[in-house]
Amino acid sequence: MNSRIIIVNIIRWVLLLFVQIFLLKNMGFYDLSTPFVYVLFLLLLPFGIPNILLYTLAFATGLTLDAFYDTMGVHATACVVLAFVRISFISISLNRDAIDDPEPSLSYMGFQWFSLYAFLCVLAHHLVLFFLETFRLTEIGYTLMRCGLSCIFTLLIILLVEFIFYKRTSR
């Protein structure tokens, strides 16, 4: 069971990064809306993962992305922020002891919880990402617009993917 989770996550990591780097990197609407779907990997990591491992994975994933996007540290920082939001949100919204689901996916947690969870994480990630990329506050309106539009795009794709791989579970 445990090794299965690891293998599934590794496959997911490879797939999502592959898609992100070779497909979504070239996509975008007028430089305004760019999807960053690879964060789905971080969203779907199992509940029981230790914090330090989560941060390390987030950082490593971000660095891998940075290597391909040629923006050393920007994605890594954004992923670390996402990890922090994820931990905070889970600890606030769920009773830690009562969690019996393996991972925070749409199939286990339901649409309402998952969409809010994904929205908050993606928003935090994108905010940090775009502001680090711009690195100044003078173009704040444009940056916020890019951030919001990209957020919508990413969320759409994430929900789409989740619905495709939706498993009806006995809850």
Binding site: N51, I52, Y55, A58, F59, G62, L63, D66, T71, M72, G73, V74, A76, T77, A78, V80, V81, A83, F84, I87, S88, S91, L132, F135, R136
Partner: protein
Amino acid sequence: MRNLWIFISRYNAFFLFIIFFIIGIYLTVKNNAYQRSVTLNSSNEIVGTAYERLNVFKRYLNLGMVNDSLAAENARLKTHLLNLTTVDTAKDVKVIDTVTNQQYTYLAAKVIKNSITLRNNVMTINKGSLDGIKSGMAVIAPQRGVVGLVRDVSEHLATIQSLLHKDTRISVMLKKNTALGSLVWGDSNFDIKKALIKEVPNHIKMVVGDSVVTSGFGSFPKGILVGRITKPNVPTNDNFLSGELNLFTDFSTLQYVYVIKDKRAEEQKALESLIKPNE
């Protein structure tokens, strides 16, 4: 110590976040040229602003000293200026014209002495034989109008026989029909704004407002504006008409004049001297 450790491990998510976040920012700033430049620039800006503020106060303290040095410099410059105004830097205006084989060059000169109240007026300019001025050259006013002819030349100065002189006759013509005449002053009145055009053939009809220009038959190039007819067709006792005209040249305010050098003047004179009178 134990409590601290418990505290940290309890909120490990936050502390780990801080650590990783700082590493991420550090990497971003260190490895991206743009972000690094922005960071450096803004920190430079802060430091620069602080220095600027400090400088304002420092300047205040030095104000007295600066004032003294400025006053001294002012005095020095004024002395210079006094010397400079007497030096003339205007030189020959030469246009190298290989197409039309330029005949005339202008030389700007300053009027250093002028008279307008006498019967025969003469002025002095600050250019002389060293600048290439020769006797008989034409002199015109800066905007429009004729001034006179060069009379005597020394090394650095020259005298000009002004138009306001009884011996000055300039060959002019009516612009509209090129009827020739000669320009004289002081025949009937001594108004410095007025002159006479004489020896216009009888059949020419002059009208008030006709432009009078130089004919090009003397030292003056053709077509320099002289004045406008105010009183046309004054009959004279000879067979010619004459007319009164308003001069464009204002002799009372003349500061600078142009001396016109004619490159072919000597050639023309030499050629024409071959014709003997009464031949």
